[in-house]
């Protein structure tokens, strides 16, 4: 009985790892290099090339005003706040081209 209890306890303890939470929101600053459907590629100010996805939940801003995904074109400067999954944009701020 005690052995069963230990095994069940260990299984439950290990199972809690499934509830691991993600870290901080990450932000990219960079210039758009390509737009393919929902995927946007970016050359960041610190020299990296990254690709992120926009969804219907992504919000677009230009200053205080609302913008749209159509404003994100090649050559546009953007600031991108990522969701906790690190792949999807939650907020895209659109800047100068």
């Amino acid at each position: 009985m005690i052995r069963k209890l230990i095994v069940v306890s260990l299984l439950l303890f290990v199972a809690t790892a499934a509830f691991a939470h993600a870290g901080h929101h990450h932000k990219y600053l960079g210039t758009v290099t390509a737009v393919h459907g929902d995927e946007v590629s970016l050359h960041t100010t610190d020299g990296h090339d990254v690709t992120f996805t926009v969804t219907s939940a992504t919000s677009f801003k230009r200053g205080d005003a609302d913008a749209s995904r159509n404003d994100v074109t090649v050559g546009t400067r953007v600031s991108v706040e990522m969701t906790l999954d690190g792949k999807t944009a939650s907020v895209v701020k659109v800047g100068a081209k």
């Binding site: 209890l5 790892a17 600031s79 701020k93 800047g95």
Partner: protein, 176 residues
């Protein structure tokens, strides 16, 4: 039966050991009650029914809105709804100050909460000797919050503290 109880108890214990106790969660009823008690105790009896000595004028509201944007908005937001990164992560969360839970407090209670802060929450004690007027003006502004226009909220952004990262972002987006 005892085995079942032990196993059930081990689930939250395992979660705590694995991840720690997070401030992301909502406070339990007991914790919320303690926080409300601490807020109640922040108010000295002589202030509970105190009236605001500062008249409501457009100048007072503008001055207080700038003060709020600079000192309070990081947690409470310019609109007072608490939906900021910090406000949402506090434990308990920053309240929506436009709602009755804040608006039903007396002027004196709001003043005392600003002045004394609230222990066991994220609310610090502000001000000090000789600047009562500033805090009473903030009380006037808090009363105005449920009726703020979008233009008023937008105008406050100029007075929000800006980090170096935010400044860099702004300059980059402007093509500098």
């Amino acid at each position: 039966m005892l085995v079942v109880l032990i196993v059930i108890a081990l689930v939250p214990a395992g979660a705590i050991l694995q991840h720690g106790i997070s401030a992301r969660d909502e406070p339990t009823r007991g914790e919320a009650m303690i926080a409300r008690m601490m807020r109640h105790f922040a108010v000295p009896a002589k202030l509970r029914d105190a009236k605001n000595p500062i008249p409501v004028t457009p100048e007072v509201l503008t001055e207080a809105s700038r003060h709020f944007a600079d000192h309070c908005a990081q947690c409470h937001g310019n609109d007072g709804r608490g939906k900021t990164e910090v406000g949402k992560s506090l434990y308990p969360k920053a309240p929506d100050m436009t709602l009755a839970s804040t608006q039903d407090l007396s002027d004196g209670e709001l003043f005392a909460i600003i002045r004394n802060g609230v222990r066991l929450t994220g609310m610090p004690a502000w001000g000090g000797d000789g600047d009562d007027a500033e805090d009473w003006k903030l009380v006037r502004f808090i009363r105005h919050m449920p009726n703020m226009s979008k233009e008023e909220i937008r105008a406050m952004k100029r007075f929000n503290p800006i980090s170096r990262a935010d400044l860099e972002e702004e300059e980059f987006l402007n093509g500098k």
